[in-house]
Amino acid sequence: MIDDAINSLRKREYKRHLILIILSIILLTSIYYSISRGAIEISFSEMLATLIGQGTPLHEKTIWQLRLPRAMMAVFVGAGLTVAGVGMQALFKNPMASPYILGLSSGAAFGAALAMVMGITIIDGRLSIPVMAFVFCFITLMIVYNIARSHGRIPVETLLLAGIAVGAFFSALVNLLTYLADDELQGIVYWMMGDLMQYGWDNLIIVMPLTVIGIVGVYYYSRELNAMMLGDNHALNLGIEVNDVRFRVLMACALLTAAAVSFVGIIGFVGLIIPHMVRMIVGPDHRILIPSSILAGSTFLVLCDIVSRSLLYPAMLPIGIITALVGAPYFIYLLRRRRREVGW
């Protein structure tokens, strides 16, 4: 009996590694497609040659200055938003929680817009916009959390409604700022729709470390999140300082959302549908759920970016339109399914 149990644990470990390898291959393939497609088609061998410094000047410029940074932005933003979704779903014990649905993206967008349009900042320099986004993202999170909580529980309906209401409020404020802004800030409209136009390396230099910090912050508490999903009571009995962990993970989720929103605007539904799909494949254990979600979330956004560039070629659609077109129907499907069965 014990041997059986040990065997099945080993088998699962093996299966988990296999899933990570497969997801990595899919991600790399998507990145390759993202780099190769466009006005200038680049073959696999040409891409390899360019990456090791043997390419033509045209390919050099196309890959290093345009397509690779754009793909990398999709990778990091996709991973960040997905992990933020995973963290929030665990803390709220609710598969519907995500940065977009709960209004965090709008809150972060308002912070960022204040900095961009009104020049209101807390610190100067290149981090001024992300810091404002982070602060307002966290404030939004606290507001939604406190509205939704009653008697120590967070009912799903209240949570969603609180998120929608607070999100709508901040969206309206962002629209107001946009309206007040001069024509020179036309870019802000695109940014509101979720857009990978701001993909230069100078932006990536900021997005990448913030995203890595945020993801590590959530992954660090994988075991605790597992236990906390069973209920605070269970987690306390297993020696977890529940309130500390919750606060830190929420901070990490706010950081991830703020980092993404500051540069690419509001890209919805990534943090909702990817964790849910991945959970169906690998189960709820965060030690495998988080790495798998990182790979799947990155892949999803890279693919959405390819679609957004190809659909009305040569025009480039804001990527937020694509993720919403895919994500909203999935969200509705989730809502309908919830009625029939309990659990995720």
Binding site: I2, A227, N233, P284, V342
Partner: protein
């Protein structure tokens, strides 16, 4: 140091309405202590104070002479395991996953479970007779099966003290006896100290070495089963006419409930 658990003058109120007041007792190692009282008398609250899930505004609790306010939650979880009353879990963790969580207080961050940890986990699962469904999902089990999984997780913590809140509430009679026999054996053979909270007179009478009877937020009586479960005390606390006997067949006490008192 004689006591493994010492409770001194703890109390608790929910926004002004008193739940328990001035409770003091101590437990020597290897004892099975039953805390008995009617539903809603504050037993669960008392249990939560013992491992600092909630804090008593007065008094103190110490484990092996060390005050729990000086200990981290992790330190406490290395000594005390809890089997709570409500074990609804709606996520598809496997039974092994859940029991493995019992090793958490003893694992460093990012440290993987060692062979030794696995042995402890599967050992606990064998003791509670759940190894046969190690791979099943916790949210697909019956209440009784789930209860045994949580007990296995508590044992996997290798605690000095096991706290159980209405341990038999969701169990069929045969599983009630299995679980309590197991707990009884662990206390006798391995020196595990058990504090169980229950409103079930017969169960406490049969399995506990000592009993504390709670009435009106306070300890009404404490001591051996025979001294505490007198006809008068049972009438006062439970409003029943009942009688305690020693039964040679089970080598323990039984309670015969005659009728409710008016």
């Amino acid at each position: 140091m004689v006591e493994i658990l010492k409770v001194n003058d703890v109390s608790f109120d929910y926004s002004g309405s008193i739940v328990i007041e001035d409770i003091s007792f101590s437990v020597p190692p290897g004892e099975v202590l039953g805390i008995l009282g009617p539903n809603g008398c504050g037993k669960t609250t008392l249990l939560k104070i013992l491992n600092r899930n909630i804090k008593s505004p007065t008094g103190d609790v110490s484990i092996e002479g060390q005050g729990i306010t000086d200990m981290s939650k992790r330190d406490i979880a290395q000594k005390i395991a809890v089997v709570p009353q409500n074990n609804e879990i709606s996520f598809s963790f496997t039974v092994t996953d859940i029991v493995m969580m019992g090793r958490m207080p003893n694992l460093e961050r990012f440290q993987n479970e060692s062979e030794e940890d696995l042995r402890i986990v599967f050992d606990s699962m064998e003791k509670t007779n759940i190894i046969g469904f190690a791979d099943r999902f916790i949210n697909q089990l019956s209440g009784g099966e789930r209860q045994r999984v949580i007990i296995a997780r508590a044992l996997a913590q290798q605690p000095k003290i096991l706290l159980m809140d209405e341990p038999t509430l969701h169990l069929d009679v045969n599983h009630q006896l299995e679980v309590l026999d197991l707990v009884h054996d662990l206390s006798r053979d391995e020196g595990l100290t058990v504090v169980l909270v229950s409103h079930d007179l017969s169960l406490v009478a049969r399995y506990c070495d000592k009993v504390i009877l709670i009435h009106d937020h306070n300890i009404l009586a404490a001591g051996d089963v025979k001294e505490v479960l007198t006809d008068e005390n049972m009438r006062k606390v439970f409003k029943i006419e009942a009688h305690l006997d020693y039964d040679e067949r089970i080598k323990g006490h039984t309670v015969t409930i005659v009728k409710p008192c008016r």
